[in-house]
């Protein structure tokens, strides 16, 4: 048959060019809107902080206690980052290259701690070891809770390492260690730095673990000042200090990454898989996994279960059901809002890097270190002026989106960057304008990665507490607030059922997250033929 009906869509030069600029203008103005929203908490902090006389601000910043807290926070971040990076990379590398039975199960067990809020994690360890407290305990807990970030990020990088390169290295007589350092590690540095970034920012913003373990970090100081309520201005000054520290961390992390600019691949064909089957490796790995499962999964689950069983009070299943639904629904909408907000940012970041896109990225990341209480109060201040959305689930969902936007942006820009340039160009020559390309080529290719990021936001939002307490509709209970209200009066037994249900619900998205290989299949992985 003949295709005679090719529509003559060729318009005049001018109108078409204008449309190209419209695309750019729309993306940029949306980026601007999102950045403005992200800056609400920082704007609030500045507004508050500068209600204090400058002399007092200086005095507050330079008192010995502040220095001490900054030092503690920095040491905590360095320790947790170093430990998670070291262990996470090794575990991921082992998981990727060593032939193991039950690989998928191991991966799930390694990632499941993501489902446990740090405060529940800490409660359970304190319940087991009453003297569990202090800096090292905090390092331990934060290490266990953030390890999955590095494992997942490294695995994503490792899947892109071409097995043939390793075979080439082998042929040159390199041993496994040399191959790891010379071939594998340099290629996954970008991914590692992404994981480490999440770990560092999480550590900075964590309140649950450090406050329970009596470690005075910046977030604890900030929360104390808010609890002491009448000095919101001092708290704002310290919060800005935290913002500064996180900016420093973000820039350091960027340096680490920029030394190794990943070659942006335009290939749509994939890489070859390389596996090692050596007994010593297998045994070592399985023992590491077993220890991790014991301390990071078995202990919390065991403690929660015993508390649950020993709980003398009748369990209020209705309240558990209501809280579960509330938790899931608000977290879901938070994740969706984060997804929507991250689209323009992701589009900007996936294109050629400019100075503006770098700044945009930093702003988003720095916001990620803000503790929930700061974002919560900022939205109380702004939201209460807009009566109709104040204390609605919408504002709470929006707070989640702001708190965890960086996660969603990271996966958005990462997934968009993965879309082969060639595929976009071909689509353009086949008659698709930028929007159509976005819809028909970019979205389907990037969707699995974006869904993963959205899942991560969903998971994190379900565990969120401080902002939830402040912004939830009056009388609205999530699993996290229920855990809090029982634990606040030391009734851990009564908190246990809620914590268990949270763990079970959170395990579902964790399960999805721990199977990115599925998702990846659709993207690029392919074994080289012949």
């Amino acid at each position: 048959m003949q295709l005679t009906k090719i529509p003559s869509t060729t318009g005049s030069l001018n109108s078409s060019i204008n449309r190209g600029n419209t695309y750019k203008a729309i993306v940029l103005s949306l980026v601007f809107v999102v950045i403005a929203l992200t800056l609400i908490p920082i704007f609030y902090l500045l507004m508050r902080a500068f209600q204090k006389p400058v002399a007092e601000i200086w005095a507050l910043l330079f008192r010995p206690k502040t220095l001490e807290v900054v030092l503690t926070t920095s040491l905590l971040v360095v320790a947790v980052v170093a430990l998670t990076a070291l262990v996470g990379i090794l575990i991921a590398t082992g998981l990727h290259f060593v032939k193991l039975p039950f690989r998928a199960t191991f991966l799930i067990l390694l990632v499941i701690p993501l489902a446990i809020p740090s405060y529940v994690f800490t409660y359970t360890w304190i319940a087991l070891l009453p003297s569990f407290s202090g800096f090292l305990a905090a390092v331990f807990i934060l290490f266990l809770t953030t390890l999955p970030y590095v494992i997942l990020a490294s695995l994503a990088g490792l899947r892109r390492v071409d097995g043939s390169q390793i075979e080439v290295a082998r042929s040159f007589g390199f041993n496994n260690a040399q191959i790891f350092f010379k071939v594998v590690l340099p290629q996954i540095r970008g991914h590692i730095s992404g994981g480490v970034l999440l770990v560092g920012l999480y550590t900075m913003s964590d309140f649950g673990a450090v406050s329970l373990l009596n470690v005075d970090t910046l977030t604890v100081t900030i929360q104390n000042m808010y609890r002491a309520s009448y000095d919101r201005n001092a708290a704002a000054v310290i919060s800005l200090l935290l913002v500064f520290l996180s900016a420093l961390f973000v820039i350091t992390d960027e340096r680490f990454k920029s030394k190794n600019l990943l070659n942006k691949t335009t290939k749509t064909t994939g890489t070859k898989v390389y596996t090692i089957s050596s007994k010593p490796y297998q045994i070592t790995l399985i023992s590491v996994f077993a220890v991790n499962t014991l301390v990071a999964v078995a202990v919390p689950v065991y403690v929660l279960l015993t508390r649950f069983i020993n709980n003398p009070v009748a369990i209020d299943w209705r309240s558990i059901a209501t809280a579960s639904i509330s938790t899931v629904v608000v977290a879901f909408f938070g994740a969706v809002i984060a997804l929507v907000l991250s689209i323009p940012i992701g589009v900007l970041l996936s294109e050629k890097p400019t100075r503006y896109s770098r700044i945009t990225n930093r702003v988003i990341l720095i916001g990620h270190a803000l503790p929930g209480v700061v974002v919560g109060l900022a939205l109380v201040a702004f939201g209460s002026k807009l009566g109709f959305i104040y204390q609605t689930t919408f504002l709470l969902a929006f707070a989640y989106a702001l708190l965890f936007l960086a996660k969603s942006v990271a996966s958005m820009s990462g997934s968009l960057a993965k879309v082969p340039e060639g595929a976009k160009e071909v689509a353009a020559t086949l008659g698709m304008n930028k929007w159509a390309v976005l819809k028909n080529v970019v979205t389907p290719i990037a969707a699995p990665g974006i869904a993963l990021g959205t899942t991560l936001v969903f998971l994190t939002a379900m565990k969120e507490l401080p902002a939830t307490l402040m912004l939830r509709p009056t009388g609205f209970e999530t699993l996290a607030t229920q855990i809090w209200s029982s634990a606040a009066i030391s009734r851990f037994n009564e908190a246990a059922p809620y914590a268990l249900v949270l763990l079970i619900i959170a395990a579902v998205p964790t399960f999805i997250l721990s199977r990115p290989d599925r998702v990846d299949k659709a993207l690029t992985t392919q074994e080289i033929r012949g």
Binding site: T10, L13, I17, G422, V426, A428, T429, L430
Partner: protein, 348 residues
Amino acid sequence: MTTLEIKNLDVSFGEKKILDNLSFNLDSGQIAALLGPSGCGKTTLLRSIAGLIQPDAGTIRFGKQLVSLSSLSLPAHKRKIGYVPQEGALFPHLNIAQNIAFGIDRSAFTKEQIKQVVKEMLTLIDLVGLDKRMPNELSGGQQTRVALARALAVKPAMILLDEPFSALDAQLRAELRTDVIKLLRTQKTTAILVTHDREEALVSSDVVALMRDGKIMQQGSPEQVYSSPTSATTAMSTGDTLVLSAKRLVNGQTNYLFNPINLDANILEIGEVVIRPEEIKISKDLSSAKIIGEITKIDYYGHDAMVEIAVSNESVQVRIPGPAKYATGEKVALEHLGPIRFFANSKS
């Protein structure tokens, strides 16, 4: 009828000028090969035609329609161009049938019609039955075919192929190239093929454009560009070339290795003579030989052989039909069958 007309095109990336005042024409139904070393700007030219790059100056016309005028340009999706990039760039998330149907306007054709086109295309590229496969389940050659089918499915006014065969091994490459050219010819598609392979350019095209440093140095039929190069450089870009220093005399004769006439006549200009290896005849009969050399090396290819012969101080390459009857170290008589292509050194 001229389908493509490019005039005074300039493209720069930052300080670097990639296309420099380039002009080029192509008639409807013709296949053109853009031949040049990597970095000469051929891909940039192709992308400018496709609308993927916005030129800084110059015009591009498709037929009568202006698609690019200095910095204004019609976006790629309105040009109705078929584009086959390196390695195909199939959509990894779509199966083969979906890839082929990708560009077809869904509002203008029914599902059945589209299905029909996909079927025709699959037949055309000889991949019937693979319509449900994913791109990563195909071999490199099959991927290239699909990429071509995807471009052809929309009946483009012109098809642009950017080194589509470069990732394939030699034999597959030759086969696929033959198939593709045949296919393009039966479809009467105007096409531009970017390549750095001399043989590929000559074999596939009606028009060869030799590119270097952002300019087209020579354009013509394959025979023309091969037999009548406009300089030693263009000669070298289309095939093996022997370049010998030469002097043109006032009496019209040329003094060079194969014509060592005396230089009594006044020298008009100094330059080079460009000879193809197959234009020299060698024989074992040294009796009436004017020029004699000694074989230093024989590269045997089966259908022919390349023989390297030391003559005076020069090393001369001669292509002889196989099987070779010569041995290294043997003395042979040489004779240049012509033509004598003399290029005077540029006066600087």
